[in-house]
Each structure stands twice: as structure tokens, then as C-alpha cells.
Point group: C2
Chain length 326, copies 2
């Protein structure tokens, strides 16, 4: 077992903005050891009063849309305006590749070397449930350490978008112009989740196409029913190379925050997210604890092949396993 | 508690094709009473050797695409060719509306009154997990009762498609031509799951548009990577009023079955589905059993508001709850 700090050491280090201790605390949060998980729960509880003051922004888009360069340019602009920016990621695929999208820090070099920013790759070797839990807790730790903008990058395939949507205040979708409507269409289901759409790489020869794309997406957004929060998602052109549109995106997010605080959705959404997180934690920890039980493990291992071959009813085995514990 | 039959009465009734007893058995399967769930598990286990011989077909599409009229026309054609057809549904939304998509049987009048068909609405008042479990078990009961084609209708919004995809052999997506590309695009994420696409209502003035749509969808399908099962989804024009395309759809499904049996994917897919079902059953029953525990319930109820307000760490409460039992 790795050496751990004490609860007060973690807490005081984080609250004083010590980045080395913040990093160590996130490592703790990502651990699946029982003792680490107990310490994590106590730590999160202690720092809870110091959380919640940041703007949490989810960023998604298909691979190739330029999420890393966008986060670097957007994050740099925020730093220059005096914000403290943390970048986290939800990338359950890294359990396979062992390489997170943010693992290669050279891709965000100017952010990674900037003392005012904090970049943390997605935890690896975990299921989506594990990654989401760790990222939510890391987000709270970053807030307690004084970061006031949290960017959460999602890998842009599968279910990680829903996980990120459930932990952020604002969900930003990056799109490309001229990448072929069909290809973009694959991700159109995600459009319903977006609070804002960025047509990225809107520079040089791309600019005319990007303007057309903006009109198309704006029209497409009108097809969705008005959301209960009464917000019309905006479409913004941006270039991370030409550094255009970045301010406009930030203004859109601030105007969203302002409106949502006034109509009560901001806090309502966060309250709902906390309950959703509780459900996730219960089912994640419950499943994990259950499958760790030696009797359950033994019975499951010896009977799985019979279920696979169709000789044993899954419900019969499930009932049997549960009766071993309850 | 409602009156139940004995295990041999259910079993013998089902195996002899008694539809009244089949109905009663499905009611049993849908029950959430502990005693009913035990009886269900034993019943499914007993009839397991008599299951698996049907073709299981999932049918999805946005509301308004004409799923009911299609199922009626397609089902009728199958009946006339000598098949026994059962129609089930996965519609977790019925827990809110209390009215299932198939609840209004007049919408499938000619099927509903045909003795060779069996129609069962989606169980109501349950979560998606509950609905999926009940529908999978109902499917096995129908197979044991001698039905050789099972049509599973999904409501066409949210996550019910994935649930249905995970329980069927062939997944059929109904689309409309001329409904606006963007509107259709919302469901394009589903296209990746489809083994076949039907351009529905391809009749009268619609026919030209439908032909164009067919070309578009065929091109769009090429954008997806070839699936491990080595099948190219086909796009078929059909009209439930003009009764066109129905035979072609059935031939597509039979040709799929033939290919998949030969390349081994048919059984491989079913084996994977059984293991997936086991996982679902474990997590569904585990959560249900856990939350029924009086101590867990009491602690959860008294602490949920503190999580909602942000004063209590969800992970701390989850750990505390789990330690009450384990």
C-alpha cells in the first residue's frame, strides 16, 4: 500500500491551495482500496463547505474536433483574465489503452506549464462508474483548492457524455464544419444535451463553411423542444489558432450562469446532480462490495458458464447470489 | 396478494400453449413481490430447455413513424405464412403515463383478435431495469409456449433501444422520408445499432422521397465501421397500407439469421446477451433488495435532504448505507 497523508494534512494542504497535496489527494480519490475509500469519504466531507463556487464546464466533441487545442486556448484566455483553471477528464476508454486523452501533456503544453492551471488526466483502469465518481470528487477537491473554472473533457464516444453532463453546470459541444453532415450526425444525439455549440477551426478557408454550419446548427436546435430551464443554446464560431470566438464563448457561459441563477435552475440542477451522484455512488459501491464477497465470487465464477450456455436462468443465479448476503 | 397457480400448473400450461396461463405467468413475472419473484425464477429455470427457438426482432423508430401499424401488417403477414407471433413492448415511460404504447389494443386490432398472435403491453409502474427484466422473461415464456417470432417494440426515446438491442437477434429501425433531415438526425445514434432500416410509409406521394431517403441512408450506413459480425445493414422501402416491402424485410431477417448462424455470431450474441442479462439482474435485484432493507431505508430517507443541499458527501452516505448491510 502506498504511503498516505493524514486527513488534516490533505485537508489543510488543499485548502491552502497546495498543488502537490491536491495531486496526492486526487490519487487517493482514484484508489479502489477500502481504506483509501474511507479516507476519501472523510476528506470530501471535510472540504464540502469550501466547494461549489466554481463554474463547471463540460466539453465534448468527436475525436479530431480539436478538444485539446480548444481547452488550451480557452484555458489560457481564462488564466489571462485572472481565473484559476483546472482541467479534468472523463475517459473510461483509457482503461483499455492505458493512455488518457490528457495523458500526453505535451498536447496542452502552455497550460500544463502554467502555474495558475491544474491539469489532471482521467483515472485509468476503471469502469465509467469508477471514472465518473473519481472525477466528481476531484472536481470538489479542485474547488476547495481555489480553482474557479473547472473544465471537464469527455472523450466524445459512448456514454461518457451523459456522465459529464450530470456533473457540470454548462455543457459545450465542439463541432466541425465541412466534415460531412452524416459523420457529424452520428453525434447529433448529443446536441440535445448541449447548452452551447462551438463551430471549431473556424479560420482561413474554413470560415465560409463554418458560417454556413452555424446557420444549419442554429436551425437544427430549433427542432428541440424548449428546455425547462428556458435557455436557447447558442452557436459560436471559434478558432484556437486565430484565438477568435473564445471571449464570446465565455460571455455566453457567464450569461447562462446569470440567467440560471436568477431563474433558480442553477441550484436546482446542482441539487439534482447531488442526488444523482448519491444514486451512482450507492449502485457503484454496492456492486463493488457485493462482488468482492468471497462466497458471491465463488458461486458466480462456478455458475457463469451455465448462464452463458443457456442452462441456468440468470434470474435464478442472481437471486441465489443475493441470498448469500442478505 | 393475488391468487397464483402452482409451479407445475404454470409450466404445463405454458408448454401446452395455453394462452390464458401464459398471460397469468407474465403477470407473475411482472410482479415485484418477493414470493412472486422466487416463483418466477423457478418457472423460468423449468422452461429454459424449451426456449431459444424463436427469432427475436426488436423494432424501434421515433413516435409517429408508424410502429403499431407496421407491427400489425408485418405480424399479419407472418401469421399468414404459418408463423406464431408474439408482440411485447419495452416502454418505461408507461410508468408515468400509465398507458403503454401497446395498451390501446385497438391500434393493432386485427392482430389482437387473431388467435395465432399474442400481444402483451409493456409492464407499467417500473423502471427501465424492471421493464427489461420482465420483458426478457416474458419472451422466454412466449418461446416455451410455441411462438416462433417475437417482436419487441421499443418506445423510441431514451435508453429503451439499448435495452431492446440487448435482448433481440435482429434490430429493425423504422424511418420516415421527408420528415426533415434534422428531425431524423436526432435518432441517428440509433442507426449504429440497426441491422436493418425500413423507410416506412413508402406509398403514394411519399414514394419518390422514400427512394431518395433510401439512397441517403444507405450512404450514411457506409460511414460506420464494419461490425465484427460482418453484416451490411440493408435499407428497405415498406408500406403497411399498401402491404409492400414486408416480405422483403422478412427475407432480409432470414438471410441475416442464416449468415449469422453460419459465421457463429448468432449463438455468440445470445451467449453475450445472457451474461449481460445476468449483470442486469444482479444489479437490479441487488439495488432493489438493498433499498428494501428497513435500516437502509430509514438512514437514506433521513439523510437524502442533506445530500441534496450539499451538506453531506454522497460518498459518505453511500458508504454508511452499505456498511449497514455488509
Amino acid at each position: 500500500m502506498k504511503k498516505r497523508l493524514s486527513l488534516p494534512e490533505y485537508r489543510d494542504g488543499i485548502l491552502s491551495g497546495n498543488r502537490v497535496i491536491l495531486s496526492k489527494a486526487i490519487t487517493l480519490v482514484e484508489s479502489r482500496l477500502d481504506s483509501d475509500q474511507d479516507l476519501t469519504a472523510s476528506l470530501i466531507q471535510e472540504i464540502l463547505p469550501n466547494t461549489g463556487k466554481s463554474i463547471r464546464i463540460g466539453i465534448t466533441g468527436v475525436p479530431g474536433v480539436g478538444k485539446s487545442t480548444f481547452i488550451e486556448a480557452f484555458g489560457k484566455m481564462l488564466l489571462d483574465s485572472g481565473k484559476k483553471v483546472a482541467v479534468l477528464a472523463v475517459d473510461p476508454s483509457s482503461q483499455l489503452t492505458k493512455g488518457s486523452i490528457l495523458g500526453d501533456k505535451t498536447r496542452m503544453e502552455s497550460l500544463a506549464t502554467d502555474k495558475r492551471a491544474f491539469i489532471r488526466p482521467s483515472p485509468s483502469g476503471q469502469t465509467l462508474g469508477g471514472v465518473s465518481n473519481a472525477t466528481r470528487e476531484s472536481m470538489l477537491l479542485c474547488e476547495a483548492a481555489g480553482f474557479d473554472v473547472i473544465l471537464v473533457e469527455t472523450v466524445g464516444v459512448g456514454q461518457s457524455e451523459t456522465a459529464v453532463k450530470n456533473m457540470v453546470d454548462f455543457f459545450l459541444l465542439l463541432m466541425l464544419s465541412g466534415a460531412g453532415d452524416e459523420l457529424q450526425g452520428i453525434k447529433k444525439g448529443i446536441m440535445e444535451m448541449a447548452d452551447g455549440i462551438v463551430i471549431h477551426k473556424a479560420d482561413g478557408d474554413n470560415l465560409d463553411l463554418a458560417k454556413k454550419a452555424k446557420t444549419n446548427y442554429q436551425n437544427a436546435l430549433h427542432l428541440f423542444a424548449a428546455s425547462p430551464k428556458n435557455w436557447n443554446p447558442q452557436v459560436v464560431l471559434a478558432s484556437s489558432i486565430a484565438k477568435t470566438g473564445l471571449n464570446q464563448i465565455w460571455e455566453m457561459i457567464l450569461s447562462y450562469q446569470d440567467q440560471m441563477i436568477r431563474n433558480g435552475f442553477w441550484e436546482k440542477n446542482r441539487a439534482a446532480q447531488r442526488l444523482n451522484w448519491l444514486d451512482d455512488q450507492i449502485s457503484y459501491l454496492l456492486g463493488q462490495t457485493f462482488l468482492k464477497n468471497p462466497e458471491v465470487k465463488k458461486t458466480l465464477d462456478s455458475n457463469r458458464p451455465k448462464v452463458e450456455s443457456g442452462d441456468l436462468n440468470p434470474g435464478t443465479l442472481a437471486k441465489k447470489l443475493i441470498k448469500l448476503v442478505f
